[in-house]
Subunit: 207 residues, 2 copies
């Protein structure tokens, strides 16, 4: 017997589960023993749904969002504003913005962020597609806008600036998410950078 596991099958499953981010060996053992107690068909449904996700999911040919068809439901929706493209790092960012219910344009998912330290260069991201989408919109005479919805860290700023240099010549309007105090935030607990920026970039008071 392995010193720690009574069964090779259990050890293999624990190894696999603990390869997930944020799941340690102890949690993985708990989850494996939980699955072992479930009806066999439930466990098969569990693994089949994960295999189906990995094997069958598609990526929208326009915006690279995950989708069940070749065009995602947002890009396929003609009632949305296809001249406004919101540039995000990941699928999750699209879901977060959609959940606000405040945006009626379309998206472009970069699939990551420029990060030399993590070995991610511009060519690893869906930037060329974005530049072509923007050029096409402008050439067709549309009043196009690109909104950067990237994290406010160095990597996010770098990525936005890199893309900006490639599209600014086209005449497209470019904006980025408003930065400032969160709604309901206490001044007392705001960090100095955010508070300072929110004074410099103060907005017209619209009661």
């Amino acid at each position: 017997m392995n010193k720690n596991y009574p069964s090779r099958l259990l050890e293999d499953a624990v190894d696999a589960i603990s390869s997930l981010p944020g799941v340690g060996k102890r949690s993985a053992l708990r989850l494996a023993l939980h699955l072992l107690k479930q009806p066999q068909e439930n466990v098969h449904h569990f693994t089949a749904s994960i295999n189906a996700l990995r094997d069958e999911v598609k990526y929208c040919r326009e915006c690279r969002m995950i989708a069940d068809e070749h065009l995602c439901s947002i890009c396929a929706d003609r009632s949305r504003d296809h001249n406004t493209i919101c540039v995000v790092e990941s699928v999750r960012d699209v879901m977060s913005i959609e959940n606000t219910g405040q945006y009626r344009g379309v998206y472009h998912v970069l699939g990551g962020i420029i990060s030399p330290i993590n070995g991610v260069s511009p060519s690893d991201l869906n930037i060329r597609d974005l530049v072509q989408r923007v050029k096409k919109l402008v050439e067709e005479g549309n009043d196009a806008e690109v909104i950067f919805a990237l994290n406010g860290d160095v990597e996010g700023e770098t990525t936005a600036f890199y893309i900006y240099r490639q599209i600014s010549g086209t005449g497209v309007r470019v904006s980025s998410l408003a930065r400032g105090l969160g709604f309901g935030d206490d001044l007392e607990y705001a960090d100095e950078l955010t508070l300072g920026r929110s004074i410099v970039n103060r907005q017209e008071f619209r009661p």
Copy 2:
């Protein structure tokens, strides 16, 4: 599109993953998107190892521990003391005690604990097998011992007492885990019940 998910496949996978204990919808989404980014063969290995655990694992015919064979590696080990049976609730308890390296007997896994509130009655547990094992050991003239290693709550005590009534007539020796202050515990922070019991059940001082 579903209001929250861009893909039915993603939604199904998130539903499946969030059915695990202690995993919410948000964590499940994070894990699903992580799996989506892994190489296909890694995801298939992940799901195959879970299916293999559920489909192929065996339960030891002696002690009901999970095993790769019909006899677990502990029961198959002739160098262990087969006259001493440690009674535990679950597979995990066997692993915990094995990890101490302090026990050379064998085990009996009940597969749960008597709990009317959770609908678990004695007939749902591997108690009858245990009684037969004990009777057989005694009838063969062995100096047998049963050690209760159950949780120190009402359900653990109830289960131990229920089993005790069934085996005490055989003449088997019966013991239970020592209860008292943990090694390194501060008296100041010990709960009153534990501290009180540890005075009443004080041990001979062996320096």
